[in-house]
């Protein structure tokens, strides 16, 4: 899944940063099921074609409606410089519903150590 365009917004409540991604295709329930490998996914399937929110505590969250080509990503600011590349990888490596989970899991593990150290000193 390719990110065609990203627009950066400020989120006033907590100082986090939000990016709106325009994708080359619509997100699906299957895409959010894939994201569940890396964090929590909440779904409200009765809203439109389905509302989904992925949350990786301390890292970022992703909101999207199934069938929509736009998603919102909110970054936890203190870790944003570390985690942004991983967000792009989550989208970029999801090709035709067949992502390379092994690659992503290795990156996730390495990143978890760095984020943990920065945010919690462990």
């Amino acid at each position: 899944m390719r990110i065609l365009r990203s627009v950066r917004h400020k989120a006033c409540a907590d100082g986090s940063f939000m990016k709106e991604f325009l994708l080359d295709g619509p997100v699906t329930a299957a895409f959010f099921a894939y994201l569940a490998d890396f964090g929590e996914v909440e779904a409200l399937p009765g809203l439109g074609e389905g509302f989904y929110r992925f949350e990786r505590a301390d890292w970022f969250s992703i909101r999207g409606m199934a069938g929509d080509t736009t998603v919102e990503v909110r970054f936890n600011r203190p870790a944003m410089d570390l985690t942004m590349d991983f967000v792009y990888a989550l989208f970029g490596l999801y090709r035709d519903g067949d992502p390379d989970l092994a690659v992503l899991k290795r990156r996730e593990q390495a990143l978890a150590e760095r984020v943990g150290k920065r945010l919690h000193g462990a």
């Binding site: 989120a11 006033c12 409540a13 909440e42 409200l44 009765g46 809203l47 439109g48 509302f51 929110r53 909101r63 999207g64 409606m65 929509d68 736009t70 919102e72 909110r74």
Partner: protein, 389 residues
């Protein structure tokens, strides 16, 4: 150019949209001709938009001499000039009153002065969306010199009784600055009859101007010292900034197209009638509140807003999720978060934030009905077990 898809714009408390056709025309006309400068060689065909805007605002606000209307970038800019200028004229060390209903445009300048040890600050609590005159009176100390408060909350839409509060402050010799960012254009304001010393406004909300314009009215300019200096196009041979009005508070080139828009916007509001605008807003806000209140999963924070601002949350959903679904599934633009008013949210929702729908004269009854249906549908699909509002 039309938006790429139909939208229902309910974020008018941030910036109104659409603007009246008169505003578009005024900006185009302003940009099409060379800037007008009285006594200058810059041309004679253009309009003097600055004077036109000053007269329009003075007439609209019942402000008396147009020269006592000062133009700035926005309400935040106005409030900073008034607060900093009051201290510059009266010295540090006084006690200042404000309220928990304020926007950060008031809270941050005052908190910064308190942090610097230049003022003592008391933030008054509110009840049912308003601060009572008795609460204000009880907080006044011998050293209280300044009170800064909003005319209407940008979260709750509640309108403050600035007349009664102003009387209390006037009796005790406290200088009273009112933030009219939300109220001006929504409700009739007659500054001649109000016991207020200065009134800040912004151009891009209910006055239907464009962003980058605002101003304030001041009764006695001597009470506030200028804190900005520079070119005024007058008294240019002296190195000291002129003290006459309105140059006392204005330095540098004005925002000509912005002020042309503001004059046209204020003219539109005046021609439409502030009473008619307020009546329609009240009817539509009551409809929306009534609809939302029928949904057990929806918490509405003010049942009787004086401005068409409806603040709510949906049990079981984060406010940002509600805003996202409204936008992406229904094409409804709302505003989520804490609306730059952190103390209001601490009081009503623990500081978490909420969803705000805000209407303008151009909001239709159909749009209100669509918004009500959308929120109710979202609330029915939310899982109240996930979290509490």
């Amino acid at each position: 150019m039309e938006p790429h898809r139909p939208i229902i714009y309910l974020n008018n408390a941030a910036t109104t949209w659409p603007k009246p056709p008169e505003v578009h025309e005024a900006v185009n006309r302003c940009l099409a001709l060379p800037p007008f400068g009285s006594g200058r060689t810059t041309g004679t065909q253009g309009e003097d938009y600055i004077t036109l805007a000053r007269e329009a605002l003075a007439g609209f606000l019942g402000a008396g001499p147009p020269e006592h209307v000062v133009f700035t970038q926005n309400a935040t800019d106005s409030l900073n000039l008034l607060i900093q200028g009051f201290l510059a004229a009266n010295g540090d060390g006084c006690h200042v009153l404000t309220t928990a209903l304020e926007h950060n445009s008031v809270l941050r300048p005052l908190r910064e002065l308190e942090r610097q040890g230049r003022i003592q600050l008391t933030i008054l609590p509110f009840e049912d969306g308003t601060v009572s005159p008795a609460t204000v009176e009880a907080a006044i100390r011998p050293e209280t010199r300044l009170a800064v408060m909003t005319h209407a909350s940008n979260v709750l839409g509640s309108v403050q009784d600035v007349r009664a509060i102003g009387r209390v402050l006037e009796d005790r010799g406290v200088y009273f600055v009112v933030d009219g960012a939300q109220a001006a254009g929504h409700i009739p304001v007659d500054l001649r009859t109000l016991p207020i010393d200065a009134y800040a406004f912004t151009g891009h909300k209910a006055l239907f101007g464009i962003p980058g314009t605002g101003g304030f009215w001041i009764r006695d300019p001597e009470a506030v010292a200028p804190v900005r200096f520079g070119g005024t196009g007058s008294s240019s041979c002296t190195l000291l900034h002129p003290r006459g009005m309105p140059e006392r508070f204005e330095a540098g080139t004005h925002n000509y197209p912005g002020l042309a828009a503001l004059a046209a916007g204020a003219g539109f509001v005046r021609a439409t009638g502030p009473g008619a605008i307020a009546a329609k807003a009240e009817r539509q806000a009551a409809f929306l509140v009534g609809e939302l209140r029928q949904e057990p999963n929806v918490v509405v924070y003010n049942d009787r807003p004086g401005l068409p601002i409806i603040a709510f949350t949906v049990r079981g959903m984060e406010h940002e999720d509600v805003g996202f679904v409204l936008a992406r599934a229904y094409g409804i633009v709302s505003r989520t978060g804490i609306h730059c008013a952190p103390l209001v949210h601490r009081a009503i929702d623990g500081g978490v934030g909420c969803v705000r729908l805000s209407l303008s004269w151009f909001t239709t009854d159909d749009e209100c009905a669509c918004a009500a249906r959308a929120v109710r549908e979202i609330a029915r699909n939310a899982d109240p077990q996930v979290g509490t509002a």
